[in-house]
């Protein structure tokens, strides 16, 4: 039960009905991705080849597994927030807009889960 008055609950939420939550989440995930992205590119550059054994060894280091899982999750989150704005801005018809938003969100959550499971399987060495 919330003790906030009905007026207090809606104040500051605006026409998007969620206040500055989207704006803030986009910035928060952007800062995280700046760090994780630079880590990922530096790590890739230092990998010296991407044959399967080397990728497995690299991925099974706990720090790599942790950061890569974080990057996949944050990347999906930031991508969804960004593409949401693009779709909302440029798709005029309401039905198509809602359908695209749902499909886009389903698609990127699916990709993120598939990517995370692949990382975990490689990290703990589940045989293919």
């Amino acid at each position: 039960m919330s003790l906030t008055s009905p007026l207090g609950r809606v104040l500051g939420l605006g026409s998007a009905k969620e206040g500055s939550r989207h704006w803030y989440a986009q910035r928060l995930s952007a800062i995280a991705l700046a760090i994780l992205g630079i880590w990922f590119v530096v790590a890739l550059a230092g990998l010296d080849g991407v044959d399967l054994d080397r990728v497995r060894t690299w991925l099974s280091a706990p720090l790599t597994t942790t950061l890569l899982l974080l990057m996949i999750g944050t990347l999906a989150w930031h991508t969804i927030l960004g593409l949401q704005v693009v779709i909302e801005d440029y798709v005029g018809s309401r039905g198509l807009r809602v359908a695209l938003l749902i499909a886009m969100k389903f698609g990127f959550v699916l990709a993120a889960v598939a990517g995370a499971i692949a990382v975990l399987r490689l990290a703990v060495g589940v045989p293919a």
């Binding site: 952007a30 080849g49 990728v55 693009v86 990127f108 990709a111 990517g115 293919a128």
Partner: protein
């Protein structure tokens, strides 16, 4: 009551300036990076599925059209990162003066290209035949 034609926001009527060019590039590179995310997942899933599917994925990624897309994704990452920092600075109120904003725009455009070229060759060496 008949529905009236609502006026559109005038986003197609603005003069083509460095500022809105850089702004729309931020969106375009963001869209390209979403495709890059899917390629990252493709690479990881192929690796988890074993040597055979990994070999297939690597040769797919090494094809000329894929290399062009990967180069685009790489530059997009450089641009989106640098211009994103520019946006975050604006969010805390830094760099709004016209002169500074114009200068940082040029810096981002040129630096993103330079960074992409450098990274392409660095990663090329590491990836061997792949990228």
């Amino acid at each position: 009551m008949a529905r009236r034609e609502r006026p559109l926001s005038p986003f197609m009527q603005y003069r083509w300036l460095y500022s809105n060019t850089l702004s729309i590039l931020h969106r375009l590179t963001g869209i390209l990076l979403s495709a890059g995310f899917l390629l990252l997942v493709y690479w990881l899933v192929a690796a988890a599925r074993g040597a055979e599917s990994y070999e297939r994925a690597l040769s797919c990624l090494a094809s000329i059209p894929m290399q062009v897309i990967l180069a685009g994704v790489l530059w997009s990452w450089c641009y989106h990162l640098l211009n994103g920092v520019r946006h975050l600075c604006w969010d805390v109120g830094i760099g709004f003066e016209l002169r500074v904003a114009r200068l940082s725009g040029w810096v981002v455009a040129i630096a993103s290209l330079a960074l992409a070229v450098v990274l392409w060759f660095v990663l090329h060496g590491g990836f061997g035949e792949v990228a």
